[in-house]
């Protein structure tokens, strides 16, 4: 058991508690944006993939790294943008009525 591993396990367990605490406060109203938003931040693997793709010795691992960058970036950009799009649609009731909108 290395020291790094111990620290990592501490971080893992504490992060799990923070996660449960924070996420259980998200109302069901926003569960879909929560999923797409958390998808976006799970694209943090991009950090590892950037290093793999940039090592420069031109081997297979660089190609794998590049594909990983692509995958992770789809997650990051797609996730954040679609979440923003969704959250932009959630509006409060301002004028209690009169907002009859023509359906297409």
């Amino acid at each position: 058991m290395t020291e790094t591993l111990m620290v990592s396990i501490y971080v893992f367990v504490l992060a799990a508690f923070v996660g449960f605490e924070v996420i259980s406060k998200v109302p069901p109203l926003l569960h879909t944006p929560l999923m797409s938003g958390s998808n976006a931040i799970s694209g943090i693997t991009v950090v590892g993939s950037l290093i793999a793709a940039g090592e420069g010795h031109g081997g297979l691992s660089v190609i794998l790294g590049m594909i990983a960058v692509i995958f992770a970036m789809i997650n990051v950009v797609g996730g954040f943008m679609v979440t923003d799009r969704m959250l932009g649609m959630f509006k409060q009731d301002t004028s209690k009525s009169k907002q009859i909108k023509k359906a297409e």
């Binding site: 992060a15 924070v22 926003l30 694209g43 950090v47 590892g48 950037l50 793999a52 923003d84 509006k91």
Partner: protein, 467 residues
């Protein structure tokens, strides 16, 4: 420099947590998402400063191609297709973890052709988490692709079952674990890693195909959790705490949503985890269909009823979204509100195809979110309500869940629509819902059945009420 990078990662992790915290209210949610995006930008920029990066060509290609695809997906996707979109994103997340872990193995091995293992002193924990990262990442990748195919209609939604399914899956998982242990003891056995990836790829497929299309909310949430877990494992491999924190947050989020969905669908998590989901379906089909009669009403009758109602609760189901009737339904609600009635929407946790899906669909149709109430908030109000208007929902309002012990629905929390003074059901036919259980509600005296496509019926109601 390294210290600076690690501090920047910490800032990113804090921004992610703050972002998720702001998601607790629709007023601040958008800002929260933006904070998360800023955190990600910081993480990416400081990583590019890392000395280990020598060549930026492939990075640039990756950033542009991936970012472009993501942009396109986010702009183009229809709100009804959000479950597929999230499924696909889960898959890419898992796939990225697998690839990063494997690339890291190649770096550790010290020889790009993998023929000789020259990587000295790689500790067991790095190797073990490497195996886990590959396993979970790959299962997430292929499992998500199957979930995507089912939701998108590329594959039939019906469960695919065969003999010994659970046992075969369990055996494969066990096999992968045994190979994993052998690999940890001798990390030059790279072929074992390839076999583990292959098994995981098959396992992802075989554990999602037995699950019916209607149970996809559970699967999507679970795969969401897996994708986070895979990222966390990759964090262990790279000793990168930013990955561990973030991956764990996502894992927790997916796990919480999974258990909420399980509860709302009346299934245990264990039942989901090992390919039990959807098995009940065959049993449901045996329900005897004795001839009972329902009273059919026209949209005009329904409009008259709504005209005189002081309070209306609308219960939307996925059928509403299929018929694309959200906008016209909001028009109907607006008319009723302008006539002085109280109109609210009751949202069952599994309305739609993923957690919270129905809320997004209605928000898109300009329904203010304060009118969208979750089951626990509104269930006691049905008894004081004149009309419960059910559109495109079935199982979530089936009283069999309360009374009929033999029903697959028994014990499932349902919306108490039958306590309202009048229950109005807009439905195409009397066909049972996904659980295969006939709905007694339709045959009750105070139930008004209006048959037809949700969009045309509601359009009709609007026209009559406008006169």
């Amino acid at each position: 420099m390294k210290e600076l990078i690690y501090l920047a990662y910490l800032v990113s992790a804090v921004l992610f947590i703050m972002g998720l915290k702001l998601l607790s209210s629709p007023k601040t949610a958008r800002r929260g998402n933006l904070l998360g995006a800023v955190g990600m930008l910081i993480a990416i920029v400081v990583t590019l400063l890392d000395k280990a990066i020598i060549d930026f060509t492939f990075i640039l290609i990756g950033l542009v191609v991936g970012g472009g695809i993501g942009l396109l997906l986010a702009k183009r996707v229809q709100m009804t297709a959000m479950p597929q979109m999230v499924g696909l994103l889960n898959g890419f997340g898992g796939g990225a973890s697998t690839l990063v872990a494997f690339a890291e193995y190649m770096r550790l091995s010290g020889d790009a052709s993998l023929t000789v293992w020259t990587g000295a002193n790689v500790s067991y924990d790095v190797l073990a988490t490497l195996v886990l990262s590959l396993l979970i990442g790959t299962v997430t990748f292929t499992g998500s692709l199957i979930a995507f195919a089912k939701l998108q209609g590329i594959m039939r939604g019906a469960p695919i079952l065969y003999a010994m399914q659970k046992q075969i899956n369990a055996a494969m998982l066990l096999g992968a674990i045994v190979l994993g242990v052998l690999f940890v003891l001798d990390p030059s056995l790279w072929l074992f890693l390839i076999i583990i990836i292959a098994i995981a790829a098959i396992l992802g497929v075989t554990s999602v195909i037995p699950i019916g299309g209607a149970d996809m909310p559970v699967v999507i949430s679970l795969l969401n959790s897996y994708s986070g877990l895979a990222a966390a494992m990759t964090g262990f491999v790279l000793s990168n705490n930013a990955l561990i924190i973030t991956g764990t947050l996502v894992g927790a989020s997916g796990f919480i949503l999974t258990s909420i969905m399980c509860k709302a669908m009346n299934r245990s998590l264990g039942n989901v985890l090992f390919a039990g989901v959807g098995v009940d379906y065959a049993a449901g089909e045996t329900a005897a269909t004795e001839q009972r009669t329902v009273v059919r009403y026209t949209p005009e009758d329904a409009a008259f009823m709504l005209e005189n109602a002081q309070s209306v609760i609308i219960v939307p189901g996925y059928g509403l979204a299929v018929a694309q009737a959200q906008h016209v339904l909001q028009e109907l609600a607006s008319i009723l509100i302008s006539r002085g009635a109280t109109v609210r929407y009751a949202i069952h946790p599994v309305a739609g195809r993923m957690p919270g899906h129905m809320n997004v669909l209605l928000a898109e149709a300009n329904v203010p979110y304060d009118l969208l109430l979750e089951m626990d908030q509104i269930n006691d109000d049905f008894q004081n309500t004149d009309v419960a208007l059910i559109i495109g929902a079935n199982d979530v309002v089936n009283p069999a869940a309360r009374t009929k012990k033999s029903s697959p629905l028994y014990g499932m929390p349902i919306l108490n629509v039958d306590y309202a003074r009048t229950t109005m059901v807009v439905k195409r036919s009397l066909n049972p819902g996904f659980a295969g259980e006939d709905n007694d509600l339709f045959y009750e005296k105070k139930t008004m059945m209006v048959f037809g496509d949700a969009k045309s019926v509601v359009t009709n109601l609007v026209q009559v009420l406008k006169k």
